[in-house]
Symmetry: C6
Subunit: 253 residues, 6 copies
């Protein structure tokens, strides 16, 4: 099956080639972990290397912010938008529900017009507060995701988490159950510095790498590296060294 | 007593041959742990190897999604449905309560018509939100389970848990008390990767294996493997190496 | 003082002969820990070995379920009921409060008629939701317990706990304060398997064994074994090996 | 200053002779830790060894229960009550507030009549639910305590805690601030058994022993023993051995 | 700058001479940690050694209680009050809000009349419940503190904490932000006994000692001692020995 | 790109030269960690070394308090204000919302008039309580931040945290997502003393140092130092020594 490359070095490899086409992916992380960067990289890569136009749907940030942020990685979003390959759609939270309800409406129209194949929704968290009943919310989001898939779009939804450092993550919503792919970005404290970890927890319809990998945000975007060596409890955000290595040191003597 | 084989390698062994006929099983897990896969495997195995037609009752996912997901394991659900051996019934959450109340209604009719012996309800979590009073909800679910049993069905209910990584699981509902069998699927972090663990916590009317076993999702479905060696605190999701092995290393010198 | 033997091997020993007559015991545990089995064994032992007829009062499960479950241990509850030595009384949760209020009513009558000496109430948890005011609930339960005692009955109340694995148990209700005896059943993870632990936390009017003991459910019912060796933190559900043994290993060299 | 001996071996020593006269003491503990036993011992010791008549004010248990419980320790409460040296006053929770409000009423009268010097209120927990506003409740209890003191009574209030095993105890009420003395009874798991610990946390107007001591309930009542040796984290309920002893073992070699 | 000596040995040193004049200090601690003693010592020292009259404003305890408590340390508060150097003002919680609102009212008058320079408010916790809106409460307290400062008073506010033993202290109110100085008193379990720790967390306008120091309550009042040696996690209330010393022991061999 | 130097030694280095112009920064910390000091230093440095006038917008503290606090570091805020280079604007919480809504109003006017380039908002926490709906609040704050940026201002918002010591920080609001830069100040217990740690968690549009660094408040303001050596779990507030160093000690022998 064809894969939709995210363009994030290492991540496509972890997903055995990339995302499955016409699926919905949730990328969850705390502030500064790089969710939006991953999304922008996905859109930029699609346009520039795969000839797949893309949409960024935002409920808070102005297009200008995306232009500026993208420019840091050498991505000229303004130009791409002028060329009709990118469209940054902004909506205030007040009208976002309407967007959802008439999903087949404006977004559909624009997607068809520009031949969009990818979309980033930044962020799913703003949806979260639109319905009081969690079941109703879940249905709305599920319908919205299905609407995007029907349009032939492969979608990334960013999701904000305020768990700065590990611990037991016990979500109140069950939204990740409706996504096809679920990627976690986490902070990890090691040697008196904050590192970043990436994990593909779930990928419907495909095998995937289960490693917890380090990643950095470079001037070329996100780069996923090797997994953490000799540490236990990484997902807690504050791993400790494994007694394993301790043992080995003794036994080898 | 005859056993209802789940077809999941290793799991039937853990349950001393399989599930007991006409019992209700809860399979609980976080997103991506393989609950639905286990359920589909149970249905597929029944139809293909035991000549037992089956029903999948879904409150969210479209039949097409099950067709796609099953195809990944080489299971042709569309064909089985056409042959009348499988029936994927979909219900929106709004009418699900009605389904429950007239349990003897549509489901009963279909089950008899096709001679169904197995059913997967995907998922129990959607029931959870239908009643505000936990006692009333428990009664409704208990009645529903009993209704299925009376029809001669052996049932698997998937149950969504958002506890991504261990910790103290303190459920607010007491639904697992009404199930005959209670199976937990959990994520376990080891060596900078996410592994999966399976545990049969409760099995009414039969002895069972109490091991916490590793399992993987392969192209043939779920495969349960051996238990974890030399680790303490597996159910916490972040086990550490046992000092035992540490000691042994020293003492043996 | 005479003791009321539970028939559970090891447990009577821990309680210096058995329960005190005309007392109320709470047996608390997670799903699958064996609360109901302990209760059935108590009733069966009374009838068969002590010639003491018994009642099982249930608010959810049908008598047929008890027949089936008892049969697994070779106990013929149907026959005992036909002989008038056992009575399984079922009540829907709706009428359970009425049962409580007219405690001296139907239960009293039946108990006298059949000369019952033992009763199992399965489960106390269903009472828990009948009153919103915890003080009122506590009073109702206390009165109910006293009513049973006045009838000369020795009572076991099962109590459902959803704490699957240890941690700090901080109950919201204070019901255990009104019971004479308080027995805890807990899961304990050791060597990648789930073990079961039993503890007599409180026994009014008698000394008792304070050990935390392992137990298993065999084809003869519950069998309490020796205590856990060389482990700390058993009640946390995830014990670790004691450094003690570690030390000893070193010092002995 | 004269001390009011509790008669509990070891505890009086810890309090440099006993309680201060006309003070209010809170004894807090989980079910089965011995709060009521400590209170009964305090009353019995007063009557028999100090010639100080005493009152037990109960909001739940019948006098007969105290007779039975006391008899286990060889204390004949029925006889003491007949001799006018003991008075067990019972109140249903409904009228307890009235008792409080007219504190100077019935209790005062009885106390004067029999020349009572000691009182046990079993338990303070039932007060806790009588007022919704915590500040109002605190005032009511404070007034009640002051009323008892004015009558020349030295008072022990039992207080129920459902924290079975340590952890961070974060009370919602601030009642212990109004007590003169605050004693904690706790369960401690050691070597696969449940031990009991006693701690005098606060004693207004007197120095006191700060040790965390083991205690047992014997046929003579509560006996406080030496402190725990070589353990850290006792108040957590699940102490571990100190690395200290570990070190010493090594260094001594 | 001149300092306002608290008279507590060691604490003045930690604050580089004492409190800054006309500042508000919060002293927080669990029951029995010595908050009120620290406050009384501050008032007594001011009157006797610095010739600074003082006020104790109480919302619960009667003056007689302060007389008794002070007498334990050899401080004759009754006499000081007769000499016009001390004033113990009592207010019921009901009128406390009024006190706050007309801060410039009665307290101001008394302070001027007697030339008071110091005040202890015992306790701030009672304020906490007077307003439902935390922002409104904070404003009220801030205004009250400023009112006292304008009168030339240096103020200590006691604050009750029910966290008996460490753990993560996550206050719901943000009151400590409005105080100039914030002192924590904590229980620390070490060698099976409860020790006390003192920490100056914040001191606006002055450098201060950041050590976590042990302290005891002697017959002369509070005495702050040296810091804890070779322990980690003191603020958790249950420190463990540092592996540091462990290492040193090994390496030195 | 030009950088806006904070003047805090070490911090500018960590941010590769300083803040980005016209961005909003959140500085979060517990009481006494130095948030306001960092803000004042930012304003003072701007005026004195960069010739950039600044505004301090306060919702609680009086200007006099800033004068006093600044004087401790030798910064003459009164004089700077007289020279028109500094403006301390005070608002009661009641009118703060109005300030927000007409952001372009008074603040804009003053900023233009004095040519302000920097602003400190002390504190964001007071905003937090102005709207019940978190989404509405977030929008208001985001608009306010954008308003300041449009005026050419580089802004620091202090944010109060009551987490005195580490643990899992799970914010209820998601405000840090709208900030460009997010700096955490934390207490860290080491060797029986409280140290302070600083961390730049997020910096939009720029690479930055990910180290967790120690810092102290000296008579010259905040000074950021090197990172912590040989400790794990610093962000928990109670780090432990790494077994790493332990190992090294052994292996080297």
């Amino acid at each position: 099956m064809d894969r939709v490359k995210t363009g994030t070095i290492g991540l496509d490899e972890m997903m055995h080639g990339g995302l499955l086409p016409q699926t919905a992916t949730i990328v969850e992380g705390a502030p500064g972990t790089g969710k939006t960067t991953l999304g922008m990289q996905f859109i930029h890569h699609g346009i520039v290397h795969e000839n797949e136009p893309g949409i960024i749907l935002t409920f808070e940030q102005f297009p200008a912010q995306y232009y500026r942020d993208a420019a840091n990685f050498g991505w000229d979003f303004r130009k791409l938008e002028e060329e009709g390959k990118l469209r940054i759609m902004m909506s205030s939270p007040e009208v976002s529900r309407a967007y959802l309800e008439e999903a087949g409406g404006q977004i559909e129209e624009i997607a068809r017009e520009m031949g969009a194949r990818r979309i980033v929704v930044d962020s799913l968290s703003q949806f979260e507060r639109l319905a009081e009943d969690p079941l109703e919310l879940r249905q709305t989001i599920y319908s919205f995701m299905n609407g995007l898939k029907r349009e032939g779009l492969t979608a990334i939804f960013t999701w904000e988490s305020m768990t700065l450092l590990g611990g037991v993550e016990q979500h109140k919503t069950t939204i990740p159950f409706v996504a096809d792919t679920y990627i976690l970005l986490r902070y990890v404290e090691m040697e008196s510095a904050m590192h970043k970890a990436l994990l593909v927890l779930k990928m419907r319809g495909s095998d995937h790498d289960k490693d917890i990998r380090q990643f950095t945000i470079t001037s070329q975007g996100i780069q996923v590296q090797s997994r953490f060596e000799g540490r236990e409890g990484i997902m807690s955000g504050s791993p400790h060294q494994m007694t394993d290595s301790f043992m080995r040191a003794f036994v080898k003597r």
